[in-house]
């Protein structure tokens, strides 16, 4: 797996844990352990996304930092096999 895919995989991993905690917290809004884990993964995710977008481009349109090209529209798109 190349570096781009490895980094994106890491983000998916963190996002999934965050999503699971999100749903758990929706029905357990006072669970401090879930909230602590959420905070930890939020940070991990934020770092991973920063690294990814710096090197490989945006995951959301707002993350475009290139001043010459609108990199948001570049291939590949997620449903294509890369």
């Amino acid at each position: 797996m190349n570096e781009r895919n490895m980094l994106l995989s890491r983000i998916k991993k963190y996002d999934f844990t965050l999503k699971e905690l999100n749903l758990y917290l929706d029905t357990h809004p006072n669970c401090r352990r879930a909230l602590a884990m959420f905070r930890k993964y939020k940070e991990l995710r934020s770092d991973a996304v920063e690294e990814f977008t710096k090197r490989f481009g945006p995951i959301t349109p707002e993350q475009v930092s290139d001043t010459q090209n609108w990199t948001w529209v570049e291939d590949p798109w997620p449903w294509e096999r890369r």
């Binding site: 699971e20 749903l23 809004p29 995951i59 959301t60 449903w79 096999r81």
Partner: protein, 180 residues
Amino acid sequence: MWQYEKKLQYPVKIKTPNAKLAKIIISQLGGPDGELSASLRYLNQRYAMPYGEVKGLLTDIGTEELAHFEMISAILYQLTKDLSMEEIKASGFDTYFVDHTTGVYPVAASGTPFTAAYFQSKGDILTDIQEDMAAEQKARTTYDNILRLADDPDVRDPIRFLREREIVHYQRFGEPFRSR
């Protein structure tokens, strides 16, 4: 409002096109118990809910189902990429192909187009939650059936993931009355 992230929630990497499988899996796109049905059900029901926890849950699961709708579309896209005319004819996929080529369009495996008649938004918290729990079980059964019919491990992997999500959603929908 919605934000889109340019990545699938779980990877879809299918090496072998298979029109026959696509014909079946499309039910989770546009069928009665599929991901679009689930998403629209939850996102529509959330407005009548009286508790923040339930509005949150319906919003969050409804949003996750859109990501699953995308995953199913990715599976269909990859299963129908570079098909030969012989494969299209032999698999029975020709009846879809004539109207949509290999474009993605939400129908059930029977060919019936998606309809809001597949879901209800009754404006009653007990009724709607009950509908949601039933919906998750129906989706899980549909995934069981797809696993019964599909041998390709590249297909089984994301399907397995999606099936497990339905089980987790079912548990969450059962919990709200105790969530304070």
